[in-house]
């Protein structure tokens, strides 16, 4: 019984920690290795690049949440990559995740030398956000656009295979 209580407490505390912190990547290479390389071949990865100050990005976040929920029993992963400045993580990123009740994985990519890594995400990316990368079976599909509805997003995901 003591063990059970301990694990409940631990479980609770680790969950609390998760919602109050976000992993910040200072180096693109580390982010790349964690999210763009070494992928499972059966999984669809949807990587959305956004920022709290980007109004069209924030507007489309609920569509990505809906997408995650719709595929929660499938090998399907949504990652929301915030490009906010590092100084804004505590003051903007974390409060927005809480306010929007975002359950998808959120990380902050704070490598300011974007000119050196934009092409590594996709060579067609001009650097504008929002932008979304879909990866499946070692194929990559890149969408430099904002979504006005869940349906629009879903259509692009269906196209990407």
């Amino acid at each position: 019984m003591k063990w059970l209580i301990l694990s409940v407490v631990l479980g609770f505390s680790s969950r609390t920690v998760q919602t109050n912190t976000v992993k910040v990547y200072d180096k693109f290479s580390e982010f790349e290795s964690d999210y763009l390389l070494n992928l499972s071949s059966d999984t669809t990865y949807v990587i959305n690049f956004w920022a709290t100050w980007c109004a069209p990005c924030v507007k489309e976040l609920p569509y990505f949440e809906q997408l995650r929920a719709a595929h929660k029993d499938k090998p399907f992963k949504v990652v929301l990559v915030s490009l906010d400045f590092k100084s804004k993580v505590e003051s903007s990123v974390i409060p927005l995740i809480a306010k929007k009740e975002i359950e998808s994985e959120v990380v902050v990519l704070a490598d300011g030398k974007a000119s050196e890594w934009i092409d590594l995400v996709d060579s067609t990316w001009s650097g504008a956000i929002p932008a979304t990368l879909v990866m499946k079976n070692s194929k990559r599909y890149f969408y430099e656009k904002s979504y006005e509805s869940y349906k629009e997003l879903e259509e692009d995901i269906l196209k990407s295979k």
């Binding site: 490009l83 400045f85 030398k113 000119s115």
Partner: protein, 197 residues
């Protein structure tokens, strides 16, 4: 033989169509424009008689990346503006971003003491010709309006981390009568918001 020629023609036509939708590439000649500035005057590139080229920067008020670069844009104009003036153009739809409307452009120019012209792409006809997709987005033109460099101002949004001054290097190459060594770079920026039809 005819078929081959036809095939070639089609390829060329397709290529041209792609170019026109994507905007200017390095080596293309930019069209002049006439846009209203925050000084309430219409400006065309032809009006800058002493210029040896132009630093056309699509930028705006609302975007944190543009704001992060404001002081660097001011410094570039102070250093090179006599020969290569900065022409800042706000391409955003002011309905989508009220902070980017003409009145707010005037306020920002006043607040920051912009010495360069800050123009409004009213009707959003100019930025698609350039192929600008975000703010800030730089196009360096030579005296003949030939595009010599497209992309980022430098390699870091955080000024203290800058180690490559792409735009300044390109301007200095032109000034020295040379072709810029790096002609295209990328940076993260705010997507340009187009007005709803």
């Amino acid at each position: 033989m005819k078929k081959i020629i036809l095939g070639l023609l089609c390829t060329v036509a397709l290529g041209a169509a792609t170019l026109s939708t994507n905007g200017y590439q390095v080596g293309d000649t930019a069209e002049d424009f006439s846009l209203m500035g925050v000084d309430d005057q219409e400006h065309s590139l032809a009006d800058y008689e002493d210029a040896n080229g132009f630093v056309v920067i699509f930028t705006c008020n609302h975007c944190p990346y543009s704001v992060a670069y404001e002081d660097r844009i001011i410094a570039l104009h102070a250093k090179y503006g006599e020969d290569y003036p900065v022409i800042a153009i706000n391409p955003n739809d002011p309905v989508s971003y009220p902070s980017d409307n003409f009145e707010n452009m005037k306020l920002r120019a006043e607040e920051k003491g912009f010495k360069f012209d800050y123009l409004f792409d009213d009707g959003q006809q100019v930025f698609p010709k350039y192929g600008a997709t975000k703010t800030p987005h730089v196009f360096l033109l030579d005296k003949d309006l030939k595009v010599q460099y497209i992309g980022a101002i430098d390699n870091s949004t955080e000024e203290s981390d800058v180690s490559k001054t792409y735009l300044a290097d390109a301007i200095e190459s032109l000034r020295d009568g040379e072709t810029p060594k790096v002609t295209s770079t990328k940076a993260i920026g705010c997507g340009i918001k187009v007005a709803k039809q």
